[in-house]
């Protein structure tokens, strides 16, 4: 049995300790905003925050997380889509198919928490998620907008 603190609530789950956190979040907890893309820490579709740090949940066994660690998923980033990153995403119409976007937004929110005024180079080095639809330029612009810096900067 594992005890997990997800989006501020404690959940007890009966699950093989080897199960990746991603699949516990999706299948036991039932939060499907966090996506499966590769299962090998390559794409970032499964990105959640563990104590505020962007983490690829497909490659973290549930047994590696303790109850004391705070896990945040896209559903818990804000109660109503009002996180500055989410607002910037809507304002710039970033998503295409949208499948990668939960992971992108979680990666972006963690980046800004660590570096509130990132340079373009910080953003380009910090966001390593795959978007097959190619929303990268709007992702970059939306992170700048969320950080309150003009696209030219």
């Amino acid at each position: 049995m594992a005890k997990l603190t997800i989006n501020g609530r404690v959940h007890e789950v009966q699950v093989d300790p080897e199960t990746p956190l991603l699949w516990v979040i999706r299948e036991q907890i039932g939060l499907t905003g966090t996506k499966y893309g590769c299962g090998i820490a390559q794409c970032g579709a499964c990105t959640v925050h563990v104590d505020g740090v962007a983490t690829r949940s497909c490659s973290m066994p549930v047994s590696a997380v303790t109850e004391a660690q705070r896990i945040t998923t896209i559903e818990g980033l804000s109660p109503d889509g009002s996180h500055p990153v989410q607002k910037a995403w809507v304002a710039l119409d970033v998503p295409q198919c949208g499948y990668c976007q939960s992971g992108m937004i979680m990666a972006a929110a963690a980046l800004l928490a660590e570096t509130p005024k990132p340079s373009v180079a910080d953003i380009r080095a910090g966001i390593t998620n795959i978007c097959r639809c190619g929303t990268y330029n709007r992702v970059q612009a939306a992170i700048q907008q969320a950080a309150g810096i003009s696209a030219a900067g």
Binding site: D16, T19, P20, W23, R26, E27, Q28, G30, L31, T32, G33, T34, K35, Y36, G37, C38, G39, I40, Q42, C43, A45, T73, I74, E75, L77, G81, Q86, W89, V90, D93, V94, P95, Q96, C97, G98, Y99, C100, Q101, S102, I105, I123, R124, A125, I127, T128, N129, I130, C131, R132, C133, G134, T135, Y136, N137, R138, V139, Q140
Partner: protein, 727 residues
């Protein structure tokens, strides 16, 4: 919007199945079924198949094509709303189901979503649907007021009687309008009068994609649902010999191990993770068959043989290239290759099915709902009328989800567990090993210049795979696949070859390996643009001419091709000094009804590392329905096309694909993405697609810039094989 119909939601199906009276017979195949009761939507009668107006004035616009990120849902809704003259803020959308379309004599026309056809091929009848609904709403108001319809006007969901100033909202008129006879003649607005279409409106489907609420096929949950993971024989054409299920069955949560068709086995468990790990534990024996002898080297050798073969299908011909080439003052020759690519949609293939002896329902992300319905019925052993398909949003399509292999598999598995919904989700590995791959081709080009350095003769020999031969051989014409020549045709919407060459021969030696081909976003324009646009640069160089000037001279008779080329040259700074160390390259092509061009700006470091700084891209798509979404498609097209150019390659070993995940099939990331400046320049008078054509100019524009930087021609894709270090 985009709701997932729960299992119990059969009422809508049965109501709609009996409907049709107010359906407009706008265009074959949109046949009209007379004397049936009107279709309703939650108790509200539809005005026609495309439009429902609720009493609170909200408008539901029906969208037949699939949304997979390309923005067609918003674009089609804009077109209907434009003609409807409704309040855009009140618009929501809904997908009719393939079963409803079947029951209503295909009132919504074609569901198939591919070839950048969503808007270019359905714009007329969806606009007529909106216009007819507006005319009926106006007529209903006029009838109520006892005035002539011509004295009334409609705007923002309100009908006004001009003389008296009386008004009525669409919501108050909808019931009466639904009872009227649809108008016989419908006039459409001139696009220059558009106020909703043609505007850079925000997408209708963005918010839920930022909160995790958006449900994809992979996220579907149904009561009592089980989960399945599958493994198909890795060698294409191989079979499943047998399996020892003991180890898999002993694992937690596992319910069943199922043979699927002749070549696959699936594990069904409570959760997908359990199913997938049990599948790893399953001992499987394959009968790989003769294809296991095929390697990349044998495929490459076959293509190479085709480059010099005597027999080939002719796609475009002028003068006599074979006779002219030996007489040329100077000849240029080069051979290019373009490898297999996987679509690699971010959401792996999946489908959820529930089978009963008299009914089968499927939920899936599909680019062709009607084909999904047909596949479901076939696999279920039922009639199509006993089946239904509910489309979910697609986590990417790019052509892959026009195939229905995953639907057939899901139904076959569900059939083994009657009454229980089963969701089949492919692992990324399964998705990579069982794609429908971008066809593999090679191309040998020979050009002859006259003494003044003009291009006098050109032979372009394409050797390689035909998609049509692989998927629908009955559509070949005398054995030939005309689609191989996309972008190189003498004329037509699928890509007219813009250059005037007095002696021209473009032909195709068909060589089909055992790898299943598919329509991969951009399809055959992709490699044809690389071949033609890189080679034309080589010819310009041999002629001692500037690549822009050389192209301009050849495009004199192709003003639309020329216009996009000129636009990128001007905005991209062609002929002006580039920032230190940067070099530029050009490319242009026509495809999917649109004219596109690109000017790329790159640096190549002494160590051979390429940085693509910026691409200026122009598109003339005739009419632009949503310019900001066209810009998004252009940007996305560069990411897709440049990924293929930089990394994209699937190779065959022992009859199977070698690349099974993103570690061996890398995808371009943000750090590598160039700035993109889009020039959307619709010239009017035609409808071109926007989701695909730009992909084709991505690689050649960059490769030509790399040549400008290094003096090296890269003729074998992907670029990762090239050594660009300075000697």
């Amino acid at each position: 919007m985009n709701a997932i119909a729960p299992l119990s939601r059969r009422g809508f199906f049965s109501v709609s199945a009996a409907a049709g009276a107010f359906t407009l017979g706008i265009r074959a195949p949109l046949a009209q079924t007379a004397s049936l009761p009107g279709a309703t939507f939650g108790g509200v009668p539809e005005i026609n198949a495309w439009v429902v107006v609720k009493p609170d004035d909200s408008v539901v616009i029906r969208i037949a094509r699939s949304e997979m990120g390309q923005g067609t849902l918003t674009g089609l809704a804009q077109l209907v709303a434009e003609e409807l003259d409704c309040d855009w803020a009140k618009v929501t959308t809904e997908y009719p189901t393939p079963g409803q379309n079947l029951a209503r004599n295909r009132v919504w026309g074609d569901f198939s979503t591919g070839g950048s056809r969503g808007i270019r091929e359905s714009n007329e009848y969806v606009r007529k649907g909106g216009a007819a609904a507006r005319m009926m709403l106006v007529q209903a108001a006029a009838d109520a007021w006892g005035v002539a319809a011509a004295e009334c006007r409609a705007a923002k969901s309100v009908v006004t009687h001009t003389a008296s100033g009386r008004t009525a909202t669409y919501g108050s008129l909808a019931v009466a309008a639904a009872k009227l006879t649809p108008p016989a003649t419908i006039a459409l607005k001139d696009p220059k009068d558009w106020t909703i279409a043609g505007k850079p409106l925000p997408r209708l489907d963005t918010v839920d994609k930022t909160t995790g609420k958006q449900v994809y096929g992979a996220d579907l949950k149904l009561p009592g649902m089980l989960n399945a993971s599958i493994r198909d024989c890795p060698v294409f054409g191989g079979k499943l010999k047998g399996f020892d299920e003991a180890a898999a069955m002993a694992r937690p949560g596992v319910r069943k191990v199922v043979r699927v068709g002749e070549s696959a086995v699936a594990v069904v468990a409570e959760t997908w993770w359990q199913a997938n790990t049990a599948l790893d534990a399953l001992k499987i024996e394959w009968d790989a068959g003769s294809n296991q002898a095929v390697s990349q080297a044998t495929i490459d050798a076959t293509l190479k043989e085709g480059l010099g073969a005597a027999e080939a299908f002719v796609g475009n011909k002028a003068g006599d290239a074979r006779a002219a080439l030996p007489k040329a003052a100077k000849t240029v020759e080069a051979t290019y290759t373009f490898p297999f690519q996987n679509h690699a949609t971010m959401e792996p293939m999946n489908a959820t099915a529930v089978w009963n002896a008299d009914r089968c329902e499927v939920w899936c992300p599909t680019q062709n709902g009607e084909a999904s319905l047909a596949a479901a019925a076939e696999a279920a052993g039922l009639r199509p009328a006993q089946c239904e398909v509910h489309k979910t949003l697609l986590g990417g399509g790019f052509g892959r989800r026009g195939w229905q292999d995953f639907v057939r598999q899901a139904v076959a598995i569900a059939k083994e567990m009657p009454g229980t919904p089963v969701k089949l989700l492919w692992s990324r590995e399964e998705d990579m090993l069982h794609g429908r791959y971008h066809p593999i081709t090679a191309c040998k080009l020979t050009a002859g210049l006259d003494p003044q350095g003009n291009l006098d003769s050109l032979h372009m020999r394409i050797s390689g795979q035909s998609i049509i031969a692989g998927i629908a051989p009955q559509m070949l014409q005398g054995g030939a696949d005309s689609r191989v020549f996309q972008g190189l045709n003498p004329g037509g919407a699928e890509g007219a070859f813009g250059y005037a060459v007095p002696n021209l021969l473009i032909d195709h030696a068909m060589r089909n390996p055992h790898v299943p081909p598919g329509f991969w976003r951009g399809v055959n324009v992709n490699q044809n643009a690389v071949y033609m646009e890189c080679f034309i640069d080589e010819v310009a160089q041999a002629a001692g001419k500037d690549p822009l000037d050389f192209r301009r001279a050849l495009l004199k008779g192709s003003p639309k091709h020329l216009a996009v080329l000129n636009a990128v040259a001007e905005k991209g700074g062609w002929g002006k000094p580039a920032p230190a160390g940067r070099h530029r390259g050009l490319a242009q092509i026509m495809g999917y009804g649109s004219y596109v061009a690109a000017c790329a700006e790159v640096t190549v470091s002494p160590a051979g590392e390429v940085t693509i700084h910026k691409i200026t891209a122009a598109t003339d798509c005739g009419h632009a329905v949503n310019p900001q979404q066209i810009a998004a498609q252009i940007e996305g097209s560069f990411a897709y096309g440049l990924t293929a150019m930089l990394y994209g390659e699937c190779t065959v070993k022992d009859g199977a694909m070698e690349q099974a995940n993103f570690d061996t099939y890398p995808i371009m990331r943000l750090a590598e993405m160039p700035a993109v400046e889009s020039i959307v320049m619709p010239s009017g008078g035609f409808w071109g697609g926007v989701g695909e054509p730009t992909i084709a100019v991505a690689a050649p524009a960059v490769l030509n810039a790399i040549f400008a930087a290094t003096g090296k021609r890269v003729r074998q894709l992907p670029l990762k094989h090239a050594d660009l270090r300075r000697a």
